[in-house]
Symmetry: C2
Subunit: 920 residues, 2 copies
Amino acid sequence: MAKKYVYFFGGGKADGNESMKNLLGGKGANLAEMAGHKNLKLPVPPGFTITTEVCTHYYKNKKAYPKELKSQLNTAIEKTEKLMEKGFGNPGNPLLVSVRSGARRSMPGMMETILNVGLTSKTIPALIKQSGGNSRFVYDAYRRLIMMYSDVVMEKAAGIEPKDEQGIRKQLEKIMTQMKKDKAYKTDTDLKTEDLKKLCDLFKAKVKEVLKKDFPDGHNEQLWGSISAVFTSWNGKRAVSYRRIENIPDEWGTAVTVQTMVFGNMGNDCATGVAFTRNPGNGENKFYGEYLINAQGEDVVAGTRTPAPINKYSQSEHNKSLKTLEKGMPKIYKELFEYQNRLEKHYYDMQDLEFTIEKGRLFMLQCRVGKRNGPAAVRMAMDMLKERLIKKEQALMRVTPSQLDELLHPIIDPKIEITHKPLVKGLPAGPGGATGQIVFSANDAVAWAKQDKKVILVREETNPEDVEGMRVAQAILTARGGMTSHAALVARGWGKCCIVGCSALNVEHAKKEMSAGGKTLKEGDWITLNGTKGNVYEGKLPMIDAAEENKIFDDFLKLCDSVKKLGIRTNADTPEDARKARQFGAEGIGLFRTEHMFYGKGTEEPLFRLRKMIVSKTTEERQKALNELFPYVKKDIKGTLKAMDGLPVVIRLIDPPLHEFVPRDKNKLADLAKDLNISLEELSKRADALHESNPMMGHRGVRLGITYPEISQMQIRAIFEAAAELLKEGKKPYPEIMVPVVCDVKELRNQLSIAQNVYQEVLKKHNIKKIKHMFGTMIEIPRASFVANELAEVAEFFSYGTNDMTQMGFGFSRDDIGGFLPEYLQQGILPEDPFQSIDQKGIGELIKIGIQRGRKTNKKLEVGICGEHGGEPASVEFCHKVGMNYVSCSPFRVPIARLAAAQAVLKEKQNIRKVKTPQE
Amino acid sequence: MAKKYVYFFGGGKADGNESMKNLLGGKGANLAEMAGHKNLKLPVPPGFTITTEVCTHYYKNKKAYPKELKSQLNTAIEKTEKLMEKGFGNPGNPLLVSVRSGARRSMPGMMETILNVGLTSKTIPALIKQSGGNSRFVYDAYRRLIMMYSDVVMEKAAGIEPKDEQGIRKQLEKIMTQMKKDKAYKTDTDLKTEDLKKLCDLFKAKVKEVLKKDFPDGHNEQLWGSISAVFTSWNGKRAVSYRRIENIPDEWGTAVTVQTMVFGNMGNDCATGVAFTRNPGNGENKFYGEYLINAQGEDVVAGTRTPAPINKYSQSEHNKSLKTLEKGMPKIYKELFEYQNRLEKHYYDMQDLEFTIEKGRLFMLQCRVGKRNGPAAVRMAMDMLKERLIKKEQALMRVTPSQLDELLHPIIDPKIEITHKPLVKGLPAGPGGATGQIVFSANDAVAWAKQDKKVILVREETNPEDVEGMRVAQAILTARGGMTSHAALVARGWGKCCIVGCSALNVEHAKKEMSAGGKTLKEGDWITLNGTKGNVYEGKLPMIDAAEENKIFDDFLKLCDSVKKLGIRTNADTPEDARKARQFGAEGIGLFRTEHMFYGKGTEEPLFRLRKMIVSKTTEERQKALNELFPYVKKDIKGTLKAMDGLPVVIRLIDPPLHEFVPRDKNKLADLAKDLNISLEELSKRADALHESNPMMGHRGVRLGITYPEISQMQIRAIFEAAAELLKEGKKPYPEIMVPVVCDVKELRNQLSIAQNVYQEVLKKHNIKKIKHMFGTMIEIPRASFVANELAEVAEFFSYGTNDMTQMGFGFSRDDIGGFLPEYLQQGILPEDPFQSIDQKGIGELIKIGIQRGRKTNKKLEVGICGEHGGEPASVEFCHKVGMNYVSCSPFRVPIARLAAAQAVLKEKQNIRKVKTPQE
């Protein structure tokens, strides 16, 4: 039997079902499920889905289709015709179809859609007849088809790449704008039938003039052109760029769904809308949605008209004057409400629905797991758990670590905000607060962000071309569009602060100005957004953390803790960071970097002494400088041990190459020379001698501790003395001394013997019997993994330094990857930046080997990770799988790590009844 | 039963035997074998050996001995007394003993020896009686004991470290020199009995004055003091330094042998000597040795008197006037000759013997496998094979790779040498030729060598303190000493050019001058040595290779080839190197570095064009520069492919970061700017942009090929075009294209696709069907080993770049290890420099993983190594063990690699009857 490439759905039946997302795409699978599953059997306009395998075939075979496709497609068309009692291309009773993309995972707005396919000079008269003589509707549909088709199929898919302004769509829009201007029309709806008819003629002439081709008047040509265009759009620039960001593999491909057109724009008994089974903005268990009378779906998404609320609950400041669906079409609303109930029960999750009402008849167009922001995800998970709709394991899988991250985003300090009057208000499309400098184009946003500027992207409305700019911006502000507009959808997906539909805002793109309430702001001016309320403020308001004292958030994290096995520690170099991390649930410090007390402001004193030590030539000079440095180091360590009282604190001995600290400033060099009583020349000579060709792999870490044992002595003494003092103050300090850059056990033995001597001295001096502590090593040098069995004979703990291990394992100097890594990611040579997420193939193997060998000789070996990967969910899962005891990450990532650790357990168990995450 | 710490030997019996070297040391084991084995039963003075375990125990237990030692030692003393019919400390019939070190491997002169132990005020009279009233001999023995004991036991072993001139030995020597001067004596032998008696008194007074202690007058105190001193000397500075050089582990420890003293200096019927069963200088199968009448062994080694030849064969210019042992004591000579025969047959190898004749009676003091130089080792191996004394496998194991290396040392061009008259002549103690600048102290040698100067160390005579200086010198020249003097022994061990006993040479250390034949040369003047003949020439004579047209050498290497399994290739970047390597037996080129054509002299043209390419900003600029560069690259590759006609040539695509080639010179920058038609400022900006923090791990290798595919294209085109042209000329080019710095298979696929396109273009252009070639990758990034299974799906060969792999695996930047690696080696943290010999624990594992995974997906995968380790014997053995197909090394190392590869097979088989190498 020939391979099945086309899956039919409609009339209470379907070839496919929800489990076939990989083959039918999310949209196709859900349409099949909606149409065919015995619990659903919703009124879905009939149609069929061409599988993702056709897409793969298409790209593998120079854009040729499998030979079986045509006949299978024709059979599906016939079935559709039969169900609808219409004929595709039939001049008497024409069937129109939409052609849509649908990948395994939703990529909103990234690929192409063509509506009204099948509308030709032959079928127009019959459609007019069918619509009860609504010629205006038909010519409007036709001009939409011409605009979409000429742009998407004839230009984009054909590989023609005109400059923005010369694109066919822009040129057609110009004609339409000109006509409206000539006739003094305000909106598109003012256009009369004759206007539209004329527009269609003008459009077709323009298409011929610009693209040197006639607009196709055959229904089959239109259909096949549209299908090709969708497949082609899978590799369009926008789609590829989105896939990079979202880590979607190129190989997945898209399916194409061809479906009977139903019209929400045939008159006032028609409508189209989008709804969610629960509020995607805050998670409340309320049916939530918007609709537009006499409109097509694209009108809702595009945000050109403000949609009406479907019910009272969905009302806002901006749409409360508009009639709800519940009131306007109560019977239809009831039916819709019943369907949404059915859907949520069926899918055990919040659903995002698209519906159209054609001449008083409700059609369900689409259904998928609804995107939600972080706070909503947490709330829904906890609510559904209470409602017994889902179990604990499911609740935990319902929130992605990045959604949790949103809760950790700052908000404007409420105490300050209350004293400020908003410049302007809009729709609260993305939560949290943000402050930044205004830019008016995506390109500017990217350029400014590269200079480390915080920008807020301000647009009339956004479109898929703006994605890169939206990504780098702190927040997005648009004058037009609703809660389901492009800007709102994208921002919600990313958990980014966003305000849309700010209609009082006048954006002048060309002048790089915006004005509201009589005030004009220019590019570079600062504004602050409250994305939760929809308020825009002038200037820069202070931010605080959102998660503080959030009960649901805390409950959710406690749920995580009840499942997770990994300990979660934090990387903290100051008592302040330590305290903050403890609030976030950190169970200890996984990395305290001794040298960080020399960075930043207010560190001049200790830094000066450190420098003295560094440029010392004799052991005597060095010892003197170290003695001066000692009190600073001890004070810092003591503060942190105190803040983490009772919890372990891993203190790393000095790690970076000394040259890093040598001052470049002439005055500072002169001061140093004076203090050391040597000439500036001599000092420069000493400093130069420290310079290295590849400092990353030079004289650093334990290598310093071996060549200058007095440096290790001083640090270890500071640790034990600080602990001893705290013990006397009734505290419970628990330092873990960590030696960095170790490649051989003899290095470790050398340092251990220093530590043991100092330990005995400190015990004696303070007349105490014991200081609870551990001695261990960082594993960051590839070789260390191979000799881990030997290292573990000396080390009580391992802590993986995956940053350095990634550098050496890949031979990627992190400071120098700018020259090639972007290209590597662009070309797909590496699937992702290995400094972001642990490379499991290579670095992961090194880690596994190290743990396995280490535990072989030391069963009680404690193993953790302290690289930046410790707060990245995929890496946390990996750490769980390989049997680490804990991960350590920056304070703000602690909650994320707690969730990721819990999810790692659940994924491993694989005993979850039916778990869906919004990304599936 | 208590552990046995003391092993007795003597009287035709022995507790130990030759197989117990680890426990008894080489000397102790051989004494036991000589004394006790049924085939030998030689007249060895009885005694006993204290095991190396006592040494280990001594260092592990704060210099305390096992409690069982004392009683075991006393029992052994009693046995000795019984056999000798004397009593230790017996005032009527005293037994005297020597106390000597003996490690598993010989460490000549590195540890202490004390003779005449047991000579006290109580035993002196009896000894005088025993010696027939030879008071002079007895007081001479006593003053020697005082000198040695006070220096070795009372000063050195006690940890007293006076400056050189204040050492007790120097102070005692001064007294003796003063006495000789006062009495106008020329040599020590002029000293009368009374003089010596007085000297002993003066010595003892001085000892008391300087060391604040009486010279011990108890025989037991002397014995235990001496034993401790030997153990202490194991960790003396000289011994530790020697172990570092010779890679002897600290843990081995030394044994101590206590043996009855026999005296070669009791009169003219006494003698002492050193002999070899074959000539250690050239390998001839002739009994060879030297002896001194009326002397102790130390007199022979010290070289203070010129020894006489034992037979006619051992005569030289310098000793031909002296009476041979054969003539002087024919009966004894016959006995000795018979013993040496017995020994060589027993040990299947050339033996180094020490003997003493006491009052007409022959004693065998020592026997061990004799050190030999490279030419001698090869000759002996091939001779013994012919003589059927040993088998092929043994012959191959008899030559160490470093001995073979000696044959590759240069000699003075004979055509030039013949026209020169030697300045002075000496004993040919180390083979080959050498030229260098004169220095007069070991310290100066080290200091000058650090500045990359070639020095020849000229000394009156050398001593163990000079070892470091001898090592760095090109050659050693001494005025005194014989073929068995310190300088000769050490130089022979290292295969270093050396001339000793140049008695016509007057060395004035203080003035830094030497004179001979009326000429005076100063520090820094050039001289040239022919160590094979013993000729010293003024000035700098040209050198050529020794191995050229050496039949035995060739035969030996053919023997290697008949056993080895590894292929041996060479690293060569020029046709000249390629030709040379082919002569040495290279079976192909394992590494041709494209970029090396831009280094060195005469490369200005291509380098200029390379630089243009590097600072190009646009693809167009870069393509233009590449086009200009192309003919140079092609020419170079073609020349090398031609020189290796028929053999494979691995050509590596460009590897180093581009910044490496950017000129620093202002004029060169200006030229470049002019040619590129850009400002100097712009050029500097572009050059600066290429600068990297850690270039080793930056934008290099395949990363360049991916970001600038046109660079790879050009190189690959040059390879295929060169090959195509050669094919047309009737040659058989066989290029293997190698991509460097690969960490992922997608990099390789990317470059393969470039290569395939270029290949097709070249085939078409030249109208040929096929160019035999391979496409493969370097494995040097640690990650590459882990993804080797994927890499091998694309690569036809792997070549391990162990230099870079060692850098990244250890995190050791080779340019920056100077700051800590010497300290690491000094402290024994690493056993050896991992850039010299592959670190099998870490880097070796990476290699194994890579090969195993690579072969899993590609059974035919060719695997080689092209790092500098490819010519290092231990690394070659490793490469054999892990199943590589070939190693590649510098042309001069090819013969060494051939031998190492053969030995690797033999070691693996472990089926060798009885194989000894001189190092065992």
